[in-house]
């Protein structure tokens, strides 16, 4: 009943996904084309399409691959467990910015369910009422995905231009020159932009939501 053994040098979905991740990581989202893949794998597009339905499926597979490596649920105290998951996601997306873009493109894939599941356990252990668990998990996941998307977009802009601090400095200048009547808040924020830490700010948001969740516990 087992499939007959394959060729020794056979291409496989795993090898294709692996090559795709390498291209995405080293050259960015726009560099992942079937032509680049055929070149790297020294094959033709037909061979790739034999293992993978289309580019969407390929991207979903790469995303799932990266997320699965990160989503390990520990048995830490619930708050810390959620922080660990969130930071794991943040770091994964920091290392592979294209994941952020992909997660907001095709939802309800395995990758997103993994995140939901990882967050759901600690929420239960925290004593959140069952009716509210879906809302709380959804808030956390949507916040994480929002940051993920922004980070992905930022990475696109920064690699395209110069280095990060110069980029932030330019942005701050630009904000500071906005109309004082119309954008007072943005101008105030601009001052602190260059030395602001994305990761720290991300965690502050998680803690904000966690504080809100705590208020729900009877």
């Amino acid at each position: 009943m087992a499939t007959r053994s394959q060729r020794a040098d056979a291409l496989s979905k795993e090898r294709i996904v692996e090559a795709a991740i390498e291209i995405l990581d080293t050259e960015g989202e726009s560099a992942l084309t079937f032509r680049a893949l055929t070149a790297r794998l020294a094959t033709g597009s037909g061979a790739i399409y034999w293992h993978v339905a289309n580019k969407n499926e390929l991207l979903a597979a790469t995303t799932n691959d990266v997320i699965a490596r990160v989503m390990t649920v520990g048995d830490a105290e619930p708050h810390d467990a959620i922080r660990a998951i969130a930071l794991g996601m943040f770091d994964a997306i920091d290392a592979h910015p294209w994941v952020g873009a992909q997660l907001s493109r095709e939802p309800w894939q395995l990758a997103m369910l993994r995140i939901f599941e990882a967050v759901g356990g600690p929420l239960r252990r925290l004593g959140v009422p069952e009716r509210a668990q879906f809302n709380c998990a959804s808030a956390l996941v949507n916040y994480i995905l929002g940051v993920a998307g922004q980070n992905a977009a930022n990475a696109r802009l920064v690699t395209a231009g110069t280095d990060r601090t110069a980029f932030l400095g330019g942005l701050a200048d630009q904000w500071a020159r906005l109309d004082a009547e119309e954008y007072p808040f943005v101008r105030q924020i601009a001052a602190g932009l260059p030395e602001h830490d994305d990761r720290e700010q991300f965690l502050a948001g998680i803690d904000l939501i966690l504080a809100g969740i705590d208020a729900l516990i009877p």
Copy 2:
């Protein structure tokens, strides 16, 4: 010194943006091509490129146009003001799902600054310490953008397939069939999926963050 008067029938960036929004709303993101635009405006691509640098700028302009219409800051009580802004964003993205996708693609455009500004005012009035204002605004904006992105992606899936309830029902079935050991939380959630209200859940998330923010106020 003023530019000499233009032709009476002149194309303009406004007319192009308007036509683009019409195409996006009625036929979806994938239908917005320069060829579709030239057909609708009865012109050539060169004429469009005279007014618009490229497709990215066109999309940024359409997004800014839609957001600007929504971002009116009232003088309501701060919590309600933030809820109003958030719901305005939600409804705008519900009506124009492509906006959600665009916001997570090209950040730091005018559209995002408008949202930051709209949220910043109420945060100040709420008495949030200045050091924490950036973090709070960022949490709210990122959450909103996360939901926006997911809604955009969902809209893509639902219009492609059947109606919404059937889609959610199918999704719930799929979730309920997941491995019981690996996905207990997702399976539990699946039961409530068909009758769940996106808008209500979105607002619940906003309230969660607002509750967390309240805890910061001295």
